[in-house]
Subunit: 362 residues, 2 copies
């Protein structure tokens, strides 16, 4: 196998039910290490809920609630960055904390990069474009599965360029994770399933691809096995033990993530055109990709049945030609993962007709 | 499960056959980031061998060859630290690189701690005693299995205090790993087996213990499964693919390491009294611990047969009373792992008579 690039791990993690109480001491440590206020990005779902009152913000800090009814866009990142810079008035924060699902974790990462790098978010969509280290970042997932807590990217929708692309950089990685499975207990079951399955999806895509290494393979297999235990086991997927297992599977799967296959491109098409959240869009994608991932398609179908989750059919009926073209373009633009899965000649397999037939089956 | 302490991961790794060639660019990056020379600690086995010529030392750097015929002692750490400080003449190195097996990796970690912390090595044997960050450290294992490349300790023998104990600290952790499985190709088969099995041992002890968490459990199970593939699979344990798999198993097992059980204490007794290297001492220990680890004892026995490795019997015959007492004391002193395995009343199970009967069976 080829030599990996120099790979960054999240330097610190703290895990356990109730660990959220330790956020205050982690932030206080940053207050002692650096001047500047603490910034918190919190899922708007928690506004006026008990968790919001437990955010350890003090006078002079700032809490931003992030609307997660849509996936993060470059425009929203730019707006938050602009507000944060005005608030900071030339200073840098002692730390930036993201508390939420993948969208909030990614939003905090993206805004943090813009606090130390000039310009607009879209200037950093790509690989190794971020030039200066971001402020210290703490990540607190409240939803398991995306791997955003570990990843070196932050997926941002850019409607002008019609793509979803992150700021791929070691500077995007969190400095500290606080993994408290209790925070995921109140997630609606369907959303819990769709998001949890993201780990299974990107790990399956990784081990079925051609860009591989032994570390990524081993961690992917581990996260897949854990997903099977959670979604095909005897205990309920949201049993206390499984909440913790899913949070760890997401973390381990996140360490392995990077090279996806066909599921994520097709999913991205759905998100671009139908503004569908990432987790459920992945599920729709795998639901029509049985010929490419037969074993995993069967497992996934069993997981849905076991967990009583369904995907209503017909979501791509009655679309305009422009929308259909958007679905095709929004999928096929992801050349790197498609080459990983199908080789350089992927367009011979994923013809326009073939891609549109996949969407028609959803 | 309880909340973990805040756990440090090795921040960067680079993996692949031939990756050693990239050491030069990693060190050069440090030369640009900091003043001061580069220090290299290299297993004396490589003196006058091709690898020594590939160490990217330039004028003004210093290469120390570490005699690994014995396990690292506090005296040798102090001697290297003293020589290094005289050489540095008040400066700090831009980086310290360890190239070797666990003994060399640990030696480099220990000496690095003493470059920024005053006094003698034994003052830092224990937990959280290192007060100042060590210089930047690069770890290059040439032998797989110990997990020293990942661990927050550096096991040091202290004959005056009759114990093996490391400098347990986040400052002990390497900043960068370079994992090149090619470097392990020339290891003698017996040594490769004994050292490789160290991963299996500490991961088994971890999942059979009571101090647990889901991350450590998952990574331990992964490393155990990889060990089974390597030592019980169809391919030779030193087949190219297995060299890489073993190096990754050691890394993943090292991320999981921390809470051992009965094997390591018994092994420590052997090392203290008979100066036996850690890997083979572990093997002797598990060979007589079938009643505590029945399944793993059977697997280990099969691995030895499959790989044509044997452990000559009778090593603890003809010992003096003082030596026998040393074996007992050198084992039973490790209270934390023994409580992990057997509970607070471990001395009721591991009586002096019982412990000595274990050694008599070797």
């Amino acid at each position: 196998m080829a030599i990996t690039r120099n790979t960054k791990n999240v330097p610190y993690y703290l895990l356990g039910a109730g660990a959220f109480d330790q956020l205050e001491s982690l932030v206080d440590e940053r207050r002692r290490a650096a001047t500047g206020p603490a910034l918190f990005f919190v899922d708007h779902y928690f506004q006026n809920k008990p968790l919001a009152a437990r955010v350890p913000a003090i006078a002079g800090d700032r809490v931003f609630f992030v609307n997660t009814s849509a996936e993060p866009t470059v425009e929203v990142v730019d707006a938050f960055a602009s507000t944060a810079k005005a608030f900071l008035n030339g200073a840098q924060p002692c730390c930036v904390t993201g508390i939420g699902g993948g969208a909030v974790l990614d939003m905090a990462k993206a805004v943090a990069n813009l606090l130390t790098n000039p310009g607009l978010a879209e200037e950093y969509q790509g690989w190794e474009l971020v030039k200066h280290p971001a402020p210290y970042k703490i990540g607190v997932p409240t939803l398991s599965g995306t791997g955003a807590e570990c990843s070196r990217t932050c997926v941002l929708t850019n409607m002008r360029r019609k793509l979803k692309l992150g700021m791929n950089s070691d500077f995007t990685v969190y400095d500290q994770l606080l993994l408290d499975p209790e925070l995921t207990r109140s997630v609606p079951r369907d959303q819990y399933f769709y998001t949890g399955l993201d780990t299974f999806m990107h790990c399956v895509e990784s081990i079925r691809g051609s860009y591989r290494n032994v570390i990524v393979d081993s961690l992917s297999r581990t996260a897949i096995a854990m997903s099977e235990e959670i979604f095909l086991g005897d205990k309920d997927m949201m049993d206390e033990e499984n909440l913790e297992k899913m949070m760890v599977a997401s973390y381990i799967g996140g360490m392995a993530a990077g090279n996806v296959g066909i599921i994520h491109p097709v999913s991205a098409g759905l998100s671009i055109v139908l503004h569908m959240p990432h987790g459920i869009a992945n599920c729709y994608a795998l639901s029509v990709l049985g010929e490419f991932y037969p074993e995993e398609h069967a497992q996934f179908t069993e997981m849905m049945a076991r967990q009583k989750v369904s995907l209503p059919k017909g979501i791509c009926k009655n679309l305009t030609d422009e929308q259909l073209d958007g679905l095709y373009q929004g999928s096929i633009v992801h050349e790197k993962p498609l080459i990983n899965a199908l080789g350089e000649d992927f367009k011979k397999i994923l013809t326009r007709e073939k891609v549109l037939s996949l969407f028609a089956n959803m």
